[in-house]
């Protein structure tokens, strides 16, 4: 039987429309053999949690550049907990001040990828995490 593909939801929460990073990551993960669903722009935490449940994903990748991460991430993590989806790995990519990283991780975000991260590092991280 072929190995089950890792399923990833790439989501762009908030009002920001800069989707270059989200699209590049979606494509890189797909090229690395993962099943990738891209939500499109301006998703609320509710929309993201619902899509993640419906699509039964292993990983959610959030792209946030606008500075709204401290609001969006805890909201999403609460929703996932309420839906019993603590197993889903949530990653954040974008512009995140280093001072905010400890609290984001405390809220359950598995990793934060800052500008300049190679797509291979993200692929490797997901493989390691999901195979655990």
């Amino acid at each position: 039987m072929p190995e089950k593909k890792i399923r990833v939801l790439i989501a762009k929460p908030g009002l920001d429309g800069h989707d270059r990073g989200a699209k590049v990551i979606a494509r890189a993960l797909r090229d690395a053999g993962m099943e990738v669903i891209y939500t499109g722009l301006r998703q609320t935490p509710e929309m993201i949690a619902t899509a993640a449940a419906q699509e039964d994903v292993d990983v959610i990748g959030l792209s946030i550049l606008s500075g709204a991460h401290n609001t969006i991430c805890p909201q999403l993590m609460n929703l996932l907990r309420n839906k019993g989806m603590q197993d889903v790995t949530v990653l954040v990519g974008g512009i995140i001040p280093e001072a905010d990283i400890p609290d984001l991780k405390k809220s359950g975000i598995a990793e934060i990828f800052l500008p300049g991260t190679s797509t291979q590092d993200i692929v490797d991280f997901i493989h390691k995490r999901v195979e655990q």
Binding site: L15, R20, A22, K23, V24, S66, I95
Partner: protein, 559 residues
């Protein structure tokens, strides 16, 4: 030698002799560092440019003289000898009070024009207290929900004397109405005030994605501002047709140039269909380009831009006034080229990019701050960015002569190639039925996504190097950055609550109804927007009134 960009070239006897006698022995002994050299956009670059690369090129015809067609050398005869470019640093964060203070600081430091960044709720037509605004208020720019905020933003800044650029698109007409209302209150003459509204909705669908309404009614709003500007504000640019965001989204230099100029042509065509006179409204259209790191490619891009615009205005639209032929542009250095790692290196990148913009003949310039891969700039970082421009202007000597690179075999050949590449795209988009049609087919979006992915692969494979990111990596201390806290949202919500309590609600309702009715018809909406903002209707209320009539736009997400 067939190592060029595929253009048939015939080398002179001397050049062939040099290849034989000098080049070949060198290559045999020590091969070059790479098999191929390309620009950051992937455009092939030859080892050496000689007269053979300019076969058929005519200096008087293709280069011409500054201030004259085809404007390759610049749109003014004396360029920066006569007047330096406008140093216009983009600023905006927190509340109107916060940004007003930054504006006044920048003016006190020798900045010569203002440029306003609005926060995401404002850009998307939501008030600061809308549920979707949560977490975004005052973060990426200043929060403006009503004329009351706008009055604070420009408090003690005489709009009669300062030129102001406003980076806003979908709600541009609304914000412009507010600006005009502030000018009126200050007693500034509309005929004399000057500045620029970004108002370029096409590049929103293509690249930055801050759209509200579908293309058709959005274009109507844009043309309404053109029509209004021709009659009422002859010195104001109602649009800044922008390649900046297209490039930031990952396009190549040629794509940036082609999509931006084809957008410009689309606006001209829509304006003409409205019955506007090309020679009257086109002189008020301005452009906005990126300054990326590939120095010569950028300079070639600006030179080609002027040549293409002149040709299009003459041949396609029959413009007769030199003011319609001459492409004026603002430049911003490339935010996407800046690195979070070793952020002080960004000062160097920005300086080189700014130098390209100046040598390419820009009319105004924003230089990014070193901390922009982390946050909005601190005052310290914004000051260095402004000083960078002042150093270029006063210490380097590059402003002493017009188009200093004119006549360089390399720069002229590259200008020709970039121009040719852009025309290929422009003609492809013509064949699709124009830019709106091309956008609906996701054509430019797809081309940009391809280019940005290709560049990311090149970085991942180290075929292109970003210093401090995929090579020359070192440990570093975190940078001190500007943090916007949530108290901004609370202050804004409180101000909106007071505004709604103090204004005449029946007057607001009456004017919003009038706006809605007008939107259903064909009248120019500017007077209705002006009425609404003066009654202190909010950005959200006005944009909602138009949402009811126009509907909203959702793109087909491609990855």
């Amino acid at each position: 030698m067939a190592d060029g960009p595929g253009v048939a070239r015939e080398a002179s006897r001397e050049e062939r002799a040099w290849e034989q006698n000098t080049l070949r022995p060198t290559l045999a002994k020590s091969p070059e560092r790479q098999a191929e050299f390309t620009t950051i956009s992937g455009h092939p670059i030859r080892r050496l440019y000689t007269p053979a690369d300019l076969a058929g090129w005519d200096a008087d015809r293709d280069l011409g003289y500054p201030g004259e067609p085809p404007y390759t050398r610049g749109i003014h005869s004396t360029m920066h000898r006569g007047r330096l470019w406008t140093m216009r640093q983009f600023a905006g964060f927190g509340t109107a009070e916060d940004t007003n203070a930054r504006f006044r600081y920048l003016l006190s430091q020798g900045q010569t024009g203002l440029s306003t960044a609005f926060d995401l709720p404002t850009l998307m037509g939501y008030d600061s207290d809308h549920p979707l605004s949560e977490g975004e208020v005052g973060k990426c720019g200043v929060a403006i929900s009503s004329l009351a905020d706008m009055e604070v933003l420009f408090d003690k800044i005489p709009l009669a004397n300062v030129t102001t650029s406003m980076t806003i698109n979908s709600p541009a007409a609304v914000i412009w109405a507010m600006y005009l209302a502030v000018a009126e209150k200050q007693g500034a003459d509309w005929k004399k005030i000057s500045g620029t509204l970004q108002n370029d909705i096409l590049k929103e669908y293509i690249a930055q994605k801050e759209y509200i309404y579908p293309p058709e009614p959005s274009m109507r709003l844009v043309i309404d501002t053109f029509e209004f500007a021709v009659k009422n504000t002859p010195k104001f640019n109602p649009i800044s047709i922008s390649g900046y965001h297209i490039r930031e989204a990952g396009s190549t230099a040629i794509q940036e140039l082609a999509f931006t100029l084809r957008d410009g042509m689309e606006y001209v065509e829509w304006g003409m269909r409205r019955g506007l006179d090309v020679d009257e409204f086109v002189p008020q259209l301005s452009f906005f380009f990126n300054a990326h790191s590939d120095f010569f490619e950028e300079i070639a891009k600006y030179r080609a831009a002027r040549r293409i615009w002149h040709k299009a205005m003459v041949e396609r639209y029959g413009a007769k006034s030199a003011r319609a032929w001459a492409l004026r542009f603002h430049t911003q250095t490339a935010g996407c080229s800046l690195t979070a790692q070793q952020p002080y290196n960004n000062v160097v990148r920005t300086a080189i990019q700014a130098l390209a913009a100046v040598m390419g003949g820009t009319q105004s310039l924003h230089t990014n701050s070193l901390d922009e891969a982390w946050a909005l700039p601190t005052e310290f970082a914004a000051t260095i960015a402004l000083r960078t421009q002042q150093i270029i202007a006063h210490e380097t000597g590059v402003t002493s002569t017009v188009d200093p690179l004119g006549g360089s075999y390399f720069v002229e050949a590259l200008t020709n190639e970039v121009e040719r590449g852009a025309w290929d795209y422009i003609e492809k988009i013509d064949a699709m039925g124009g830019m709106v049609a091309a956008i609906e087919r996701s054509y430019p979006q797809r081309e940009i996504a391809e280019a940005s992915y290709r560049y990311q692969r090149e970085l991942d494979k180290k075929e292109k190097i970003m210093v401090g990111v995929n090579d020359y990596v070192s440990e570093e201390k975190p940078l001190e950055i500007l943090q916007i806290n949530e108290s901004v949202a609370l202050r804004q919500a409180e101000r909106l609550r007071k505004l709604r309590a103090d204004r005449s609600q029946s007057e607001v309702d009456r004017r919003l109804n009038a706006l809605r009715k007008a939107a259903e018809g064909r009248d120019n909406l500017m007077p209705f927007l002006f009425d609404a903002v003066k009654a202190y209707a909010t950005v959200g209320e006005i944009c909602d009134a138009l949402r009811v009539v126009f509907g909203t736009y959702e793109e087909v997400a491609i990855t």
